[in-house]
């Protein structure tokens, strides 16, 4: 156990070491870009170089975790507990995998601007700050760092109008939503006089819920509901997911969503535990609407990318269940589900990215027909992803489903799990057709399939992800132990200082 005094610059530096290293590396990379930014190989070089940042950040996180760094006193600005390290690890991992997935894809799509990788790193920094924030200011700024980077990344493929439109929609509605989030922060500040999570939590726990605090909480929830794309704040997501460059869609569906959920878990656990009766109905309503609408509308999709977008919405709905549960196992479930979901999403989009061709329309379900005969690896990988998203036993998706349903059930809630299962039942209606189309239907466009080239790094990454999905699905114990252990730490740190 290493106690770190966060009020000193040294302490803050230590505590923020992963973020700092990643930022510093981003600056290094930026310098390199100034020197090499012309050719495809420059692009690749920068991409590989940027991986170093994630490695450093990951090492730093691991070091902090190993040292069992804990705040000496109050956690100022940034949290210092297992949950943050777990979050960091997850987010860094996502960032790194997305980088790998992007390596050749960008060149193939003719996007030769290596700043992409810098923005990806900065977005990761933002996500880490968001998920690790212990203060409203850090939270807000982290969110904005992430958002601004992702706004840009979403519009990165400027030659395509869809990409620009996605960026614009994301940006406009995002800015709109951050207005609400900010209003919430302001009102919480007004109701407590604090920005620090622990202090706010203690303050809120010591008095009856006041009008200002309630409004503030509601507005904050709205801000997060937007970020996680919960119905009815979801409408941007399908359009943006469809328009954005595929690796970035993958990043948004996994990383951004994960960061938002991790922050929301922390927020609900540390700031609003006293308001549990107030926010539970809201989360429940959001969850039900999100699960049902996400799954139903996904049924009507013909574009694979858009279908995955709606599926991502539905999964946000599932993820609201463990949040609703507001318990240790709920927190663990969020972590586990996020791990499984992120791996799967990344892999699924990775396959999708490899199937796309530059300048072509989005991949339709019919484009996949008979893919297995020509590209067995891609279709098996995608099938496994579909099954994992469906929550099929033997995949990690099932373990996640198990945990999140358990977490709600352990609070005596049956309706939400049942809705989740109904959603799962609907979802078979759009996951299975993908598998069906690839493996069972005859090939109609053999030559088109043959042009598909799986970039080697992406192939490796997808293979790793798929292996992880299956291995973790069969032997999840270490992950479960890890998640449970870290989750418990969050709750312990969140115990209100003053009892009401």
């Amino acid at each position: 156990m290493r106690l770190i005094d966060l009020s000193t610059p040294e302490g803050a530096t230590l505590a923020l070491l992963p973020e700092l290293l990643l930022t510093a590396w981003a600056l290094v990379v930026l310098l390199v870009i100034g020197w090499r930014h012309k050719t495809a190989s420059d692009m690749r070089f920068v991409g590989v170089l940027s991986l170093g940042g994630y490695v450093l950040a990951g090492l730093a996180t691991a070091w902090l975790a190993m040292e069992q760094a804990r705040p000496d006193g109050l956690a100022i600005m940034v949290a210092l507990d297992g949950f943050r390290f777990a979050s960091n690890a997850l987010l860094v991992g996502i960032g790194a995998i997305i980088t790998v997935m992007s390596l050749r894809w960008l060149e193939r799509q003719g996007i030769l601007a290596p700043e992409y990788y810098v923005l990806l790193m900065l977005a990761t920094v933002g996500m880490m700050l968001l998920a690790g924030a212990a203060d409203m200011m850090t939270l807000f700024l982290g969110l904005e760092v992430m958002s601004i980077s992702v706004y840009v990344l979403a519009g990165y493929d400027r030659t395509r109008r869809a990409s620009a439109e996605a960026a614009l929609k994301y940006f406009l509605i995002g800015a709109f939503a951050s207005g609400f989030l900010l209003y919430g922060i302001a009102l919480i500040y007004g109701a407590t006089g604090q920005f620090n999570f622990t202090l706010i939590g203690a303050q809120l726990a010591s008095t009856e819920p006041t009008l200002m605090a309630k409004l503030g909480m509601g507005l904050l929830l709205i801000g997060f509901a937007f970020k996680v794309a919960a119905v009815p704040f979801h409408a941007w997501a399908p359009d943006v997911y469809e328009g954005a460059p595929t690796p970035i869609t993958s990043f948004m569906a996994s990383g951004v969503k994960a960061a938002a959920f991790l922050a929301l878990v922390r927020l609900l656990a540390e700031v609003f535990p006293a308001f549990v009766e107030l926010w539970r109905p809201i989360l429940a309503a959001l969850a039900i609407a999100t699960i049902l609408i996400g799954n139903l509308v996904a049924l009507a999709q013909t574009s694979l990318k858009r279908m995955l977008a709606y599926s991502a919405i539905a999964h946000a709905g599932y993820l609201l269940l463990p949040l609703w549960a507001h318990s240790d196992d709920g927190t663990a479930a969020v972590l586990i589900y996020l791990i499984g979901y992120s791996i799967t999403t990344v892999a699924a989009f990775g396959v999708l990215a490899s199937i796309e061709r530059a300048g072509a329309r989005t991949v339709q379900l019919t484009d996949l027909e008979g893919l297995y005969a020509v590209r067995p690896f891609a279709s098996i990988a995608l099938s496994v992803c579909m099954l994992s998203l469906l929550g099929f036993p033997g995949t990690f998706g099932f373990i996640g489903k198990w945990f999140l349903i358990s977490s709600a059930l352990h609070q005596g809630e049956v309706l939400l799990p049942i809705v989740a299962m109904i959603g799962s039942g609907i979802s078979i209606g759009y996951y299975i057709p993908v598998v069906l189309s690839m493996t069972l239907k005859p090939t109609r466009t053999r030559s088109a399939h043959q042009t598909i080239r799986f970039p080697r790094p992406a192939k490796l990454a997808v293979a790793l992800c798929v292996a992880a999905i299956i291995i973790l699905g069969v032997w999840p114990k270490p992950t479960l132990d890890f998640a449970t252990q870290e989750a418990v730490q969050l709750r312990r740190g969140a115990t209100p200082i003053f009892a009401r």
Binding site: I148, A164, F176, G190
Partner: protein
Amino acid sequence: MLLGPSLALSAVLFALGVVGVLIRRNVVVVFMCVELMLNAVNLTLVALAQLHGTSGQIMVFFVMTVAAAEAVVGLAIILAIFRHVQTVDLKQFNLLKG
């Protein structure tokens, strides 16, 4: 102390910003309405900072920074899409739907 009136004014301005976003079609104007919303929140923060101390004002400072950054990126995005469609009419940005 002008706490109550300030909060009310802030609420009204915020709502006006929301209305603006809802009803305007010019992208730039819509974005300006978002800025209006941020300004309204700033007012709340400032009003509350009067009681709670300067931290609120520091938050306002950060909000302004964020607003500036958003403005830069936002306007760049608007420029980027303008190159494709030659319009700022939000209604025309409907390539992605369904």
